[in-house]
Amino acid sequence: MAALPFLPDLPLTLSYPLLFGVLLVAGMLGGEAARRLRLPRIVGYVLVGFAIAPVASAMNIGPLLDEARIFVDIALGLVLFDLGRRLDLGWLKRDWTLAASSVGECVLVFAAVFAALSALDFTPLQAGLAAAIAMATSPAVVLLVAQDTRAEGQVTERAFTLVALNSLLASVVVTMLLATVHYEVRLDLTNAVLHPLYLFAGSLALGGAMASVARTLARMLERSPDLHFTLVAGLVVAAVGLAQAGKLSVILALLAFGMFSRNEGRGHELMAVDLGRASRLFYVVLFVITGASLPLSAFETAGWAAAILVAARAAGKLAGVFVFASLGGLRLRQALGLGATLLPMSSIALLLQHDVARLYPEFGQQLAAVLLAALVAMELAGPIAVQWGLRFAGEAEPDRRPAPPVAQGVAGQAR
């Protein structure tokens, strides 16, 4: 071997490019297999992740997989930015029922999950943290399934808005509860007040600053969708990095970046570019890695409690949507569909759970297991619920089958 120094050492070193490529292709294949079974592609991505996890630990590349979180962060950044861009505060003013159903579903989910977990003998703070995390719907799942089914209409649009708002609210409430925890554990009032303040103000400021950088650069560029896409994608990834470096909330910062990038009342410098196709590369890897990182064993230890949490959460979401649905002019079918699209629970919840576990190890293994088990279940059930909801509401595109070439007459068929 030493005689041929140009040859690589064996076994080959696994690198990020190889890992990214393998995860991407394997995820894509899993997604296509799922699609043939008329399931959402995400289910395939996640199942590939589940399958990769034991292989990875056998090959001892677990650490590499953990470090591959960079892909997850980029994907989440893109998702949150896209979602923030879709949050139209003007709409909430024009249709108060939308704002009301957002508050309604968040409050009801919180109450239901809090009550359920309290009944299972968790402390109020533990139950509160879990309830706050449960408010968040996975934006990546909703965006991706809507894109895959080419859904369009009121249910889809309202779902985007409600998901943006509940992600926002969940991260705000979790941050505030963490401050309380901080105080209870260390009796340090200064930190308990300053830390959440730093998180809110800092994340919002970062989002705002990135948006004005985007605008300023956009003004100097030709108005071509390609250029604006590159600009936005670059700044989104940079914003994720800045948020992490500044120990800020990635969720808040990126949602804020998206929201401030909307053009309302401003100069319309930044084009509303479609991030869809390019960001899918990262979304596929996001779900594969999420699947691989979820401990399936949690389901065995905390399966029942998780089932109760999931049921309480679903009841809260559906009830919240239903209370204001008819006032907002939604048909029953649309309200049911909308309720279903709010069910997915994935990366945002996982991210919040990580934050909580990092800052507050006392959070408890047991509650973490309940949340993770709920995540495992919803990782598969969530996308299916969204796909069903969008189809049931009539917003997913019907299957495109070319009509058989049978000649027909013109008579009586004019527009």
Binding site: R150, E152, R223, M271, A411, Q413
Partner: protein, 388 residues
Amino acid sequence: MPLEFAKSDALTFGVELELMVLNTRDHDLTRGAPDLLRRLAKAQLPGEVKPEITESMIEVNSAVHRRFPELAADLVQVRDAIVREAGRLNLAVAGGGAHPFHRWSDRRIFPAERFLKVSALYGYLAKQFTVFGQHIHVGVESGDDAVYLTHRMARYIPHFIALSASSPFSQGEDTSFETSRLHAVSAFPLAGHMPPVGSWDEFNRYFDEMAGYGIVASMKDFYWDIRPKPEYGTIEIRIGDTPLTVSAAAELAAYAQCLAAELLRSRREGAVEPLYRVYGYNRFQACRFGFEAMLADPGAHTHIRLREDLLATLYRVQRVASELGCAEAIAAIGARAEAAANDSGWLREQFARTGSLSDVVRLQAERWRDDPAKAAPQEGEVRLRAAK
């Protein structure tokens, strides 16, 4: 079975306007018509708002009117209601003859039996028919008058094309045409114009023959630029793009009313065939060049610039216009013709300024919403009560 021509009062008039339903993110067309229509069904409005072939379109039908100011006020009221309800659904609505950058394959057929049949028969033509036109109805007293007016109005079709043109962009590109919408209409096998029949009886014989071949079942199967509409007792001018404002739409209807009045008052003689020999050429000239089109005049064996022909015609109908209460509308059209200003020009200006078709559509939705300004509320209420 002859077609019964419903008698209506001569020179009453009304319009149908097909409108774009847009998202407010990038102002592409979106699937908003079903929800918007459901909300509008609860509103008390003069006329009707109806579905069209794809779910990104709605159609406004005005009530029947005698005078221009009433039609104009009506349309403002309906427009305000549509804008308000669309806002609650986070949708925008706009005029204009075609969406500048939508992809026709993204459109969805409105799930009504008639539209599904059209789609099954015409394939992709049905989705490509997501274009937006203004139809003007003018009442006539008999089928014979309808046949006469349909023929004689053909001479003025280029005027309506130039005045209403508002679809210079298609599939993301400038077409160099003033209106690109008419190509979507021309693709249908029964598009074109009425054959040179001389009377309602003769028309009926033609219709029976076509029905006998199994090609048509009703007047709706003819996609002609102008056609008699026996059910309403009107002629229907279907050539125009939907203008960018309701006032322009009302003015065009007033022009049609005045032309019809003038044509009925001083009846033209002579064969209609020569009119149709130059028809296709003149129609193309108007679509391509708008006011600067050179029209072939079959009588004089010469060419005349569309704008000059239009101004001369406006001058001729002035008297009739003041009798009908349309003087204001005719003056407004005259001013636009003098300035050679139409909506296509405005759209091109917006594109030159913003460099983005998405912005162009946003601006055209704003123009639809704001121009002319909202009806004063009291006035609206009075009209509403009167309508009840």
